[in-house]
Symmetry: C2
Subunit: 334 residues, 2 copies
C-alpha cells in the first residue's frame, strides 16, 4: 500500500492533489491520534522540503492581492514553476468565512494543474492558524511546488506571522499618502523586503508621490536600525519600492526580477539560510509557549482558582504577582 507521504512525493496529478488535501486535513485535525500521524508524516516529508522559495504577501482589503497573485502565479507557471498559494486569516472564524485564497477570486490560477490554492484554516487563534499554514507549506514543498506564496490581510499580528515563515515579505500598498504612516506605526513597513504600489495606472502622479514617500521612510527606518545600510553594501539587499498594475499585467516582470535578485543576494550572503534557521527556532518556541498556556488553562487546579483570583486582582485585593504565583503553585501540585 502506498503511504500518504509517498503519494505526496511522487503520485501523478490528481492523485497527488488528493494526497496533499488529505495531509492538510490531517494536520488541521485536533484529534490526538491524527496529531501523531501528522507528526510522523511531517518527519517523513521534511527531507524533501526547503528548496522552494517562500514569498509572503500582505496588504489591506481592496489593495488587489488576489488579482496580483493570480497574475504573478500564471506568469510563474508560464516560466515552468509550480505555485502553491496559502492564506492566513485569523478573522475567518469570526467573520464566518475567509475571502483569502478564495478560489473564485483567482479563477484562472485555481483551475491550473500546476497551481495549488488553499484558503486559510478556519480555527481560532492567529498562532493556531499560522501553525497549520506553516505545516501545509512544508507539504506543498515536498509535493514539488517550488514557489509557495503565503498571503494575509493584515489583521492583528498576521503580517508578523507571515514574515516569520517566508523568505521574503512583500507589502502591497495603494497609491495613497498616509497608508505608509499607518504601516510604519504597525511595524509592518519594517518587515517589508519589497513594497509594491498596486493600481499605479489609476493615478500615476499619486503612485509616484507614494513611491518617493515610502522610499524615504524605508531609508530612514533602515538607517536607524541597520548599520549595513549606511554604506549601501552591494552584497546586501536594500528594501525597494515598485509600482505596478496587477489588473493590466503591468510591472509583474519587473517585480519578479526584483524577487530573483533578492533571492540571489540572500543565498550568496547566507542570510536566507540564517533567516530560515531563526524562523524554525522562533517557531518551536512559539509553539512551546502556546502549549504551555493551553496546559495551564486546562489544568483543574488552575480552572478552580482562576475566576476568583482574576476578580481579586482586578479589585486590587491581591497583588498580580502573588496571584500568578498561587496559580503556578496550583499547577505544580499534581
Amino acid at each position: 500500500m502506498v503511504s500518504l507521504a509517498q503519494s505526496i512525493l511522487g503520485a501523478p496529478g490528481a492523485q497527488q492533489r488528493r494526497a496533499i488535501a488529505k495531509a492538510i486535513t490531517l494536520l488541521e485535525s485536533t484529534r490526538g491520534d491524527h496529531r501523531t500521524q501528522a507528526d510522523a508524516l511531517l518527519t517523513d516529508l521534511l527531507p524533501h522540503t526547503g528548496t522552494s522559495f517562500r514569498l509572503g504577501i500582505s496588504g489591506v482589503p481592496g489593495v488587489g492581492k488576489s488579482t496580483f497573485i493570480e497574475a504573478l502565479g500564471l506568469a510563474l507557471i508560464a516560466q515552468g514553476h509550480r505555485v502553491a498559494v496559502l492564506a492566513i486569516d485569523p478573522s475567518s472564524s469570526v467573520s464566518g468565512g475567509s475571502i483569502l485564497g478564495d478560489k473564485t477570486r483567482m479563477e484562472h490560477l485555481s483551475v491550473h494543474p500546476q497551481a495549488y490554492i488553499r484558503p486559510s484554516p478556519a480555527s481560532g487563534t492567529l498562532g493556531g492558524v499560522a501553525a497549520k499554514t506553516r505545516e501545509a507549506m512544508l507539504v506543498c514543498e515536498a509535493a514539488g511546488y517550488d514557489i509557495v506564496i503565503v498571503e494575509t490581510v493584515g489583521v492583528g499580528q498576521s503580517e508578523t506571522a507571515v514574515s516569520g515563515m517566508t523568505d521574503m515579505f512583500v507589502l502591497l500598498q495603494l497609491p495613497n499618502a498616509g497608508d505608509d504612516l499607518q504601516a510604519i506605526k504597525k511595524g509592518v513597513m519594517e518587515l517589508a523586503d519589497l513594497v509594491v504600489i498596486n493600481k499605479a495606472d489609476i493615478d500615476p502622479d499619486a503612485a509616484t508621490r507614494a513611491q518617493a514617500q515610502i522610499t524615504s521612510a524605508l531609508r530612514i527606518l533602515g538607517q536607524h536600525g541597520r548599520a549595513d545600510h549606511a554604506h549601501h553594501d552591494e552584497s546586501q539587499w536594500h528594501p525597494q519600492v515598485l509600482q505596478l498594475s496587477a489588473l493590466k499585467g503591468q510591472g509583474i516582470d519587473r517585480f519578479w526580477q526584483a524577487v530573483t535578485r533578492f533571492r540571489q543576494l540572500q543565498e550568496a550572503n547566507g542570510k536566507l539560510a540564517a533567516r530560515r534557521r531563526h524562523q524554525s527556532l522562533d517557531w518551536m518556541w512559539e509553539r512551546i509557549e502556546s502549549g504551555l498556556r493551553q496546559a495551564f488553562r486546562q489544568h483543574a487546579g488552575v480552572k478552580s482558582l482562576l475566576p476568583q483570583l482574576t476578580k481579586e486582582v482586578e479589585q486590587g485585593r491581591i497583588a498580580a504577582s502573588t496571584a500568578a504565583r498561587q496559580l503556578l503553585q496550583a499547577m505544580q501540585q499534581k
Copy 2:
C-alpha cells in the same frame, strides 16, 4: 514586636526608610521562604496602595532624565508631596551597574527626607526587573509616597514595561529632527501621553520645529488608532508636546499643570481606574507566562531533550512544531 508592614505603614523617618529598604530587598530575593514572606507582606500592604499617582518617564541616554526628575521632584516636595523614584534598567546586569536612579546624579533629591530613590534591580531579564520594580512601587505607595516616578532608558521593551505599570507615560526627547521617527518606529511614541522636549533653551528654533513635527505625528497616530480623537472630545486626554529646560528649571510648572490636568480627566472619565485594572491583569498573565517558561526550562525531561531537538530543528531534520510537541509531552510525563 512591630512587623515589617507596620513599620512601612507608620514608622517615623529613618526607621520607615530602613523598613522600605528591607522590604524591597525581601522582594528581590530569589529564596523560596523569602518569596512567601514577600507575598504575605504585599497582601498586607495592598489595601494601603493605589492612592498615589504613578508617573512613567523614558528617554534616550543624554536627554537629561536625572536633571529633569531632580528638578521635578524638588518642586513637588516644595508643594508638600512625597516623591519616590524607581528605575528599570534591564541592561544593568550586563553593563555592570545601573546609572539609572543613581543617587549621585540627583544629589539634592537623593538626600531629601521626603524623597526615596532606588536604583534598578540588577537581575537579568526585563520581566524580572520590571516585576520587582512594580512590587517596590507598591511598598513606596503604602509608605505614603504620593508621587511615584518610574524611569527607564528605553532598552529593548522597557518603555512598554514602564507604561504598563504607570498612570501616565512621558517621553523625553531632544530637540532633534529624526528622533521622533525612531520613537514612532519603536512604537514608543504611541505609548506617550505627553512628550517633553528637554534642553529647549540650547536651540529654541530646533525645539519649536521638533514640537511641530511631534505634534503632527501624534495627531496622525491618534487619528488612525483612536476614533475618539476625531472630534477632540474635551472629556478625553489628547497627547501633547511641551518644551522645557530642566537644567534652568524652565517649564517644570507647566509640565506639572499638564500632568494634573491629565490626572483630573482620567479620573473623571474612568480611564485611570480602567487602565489600572488592565495593567493588573496583564501583569498577572505576564508573570504566569514567565513562570511557565521557567518551569519548562528547568524540567529534567526537557533539559535532556532540548539541546538535541534544538539542533535538529536548526538543521531542518525535524519540524519545529513536532519538536515543540515532543518537548511538551516530555514535560507532562512527571
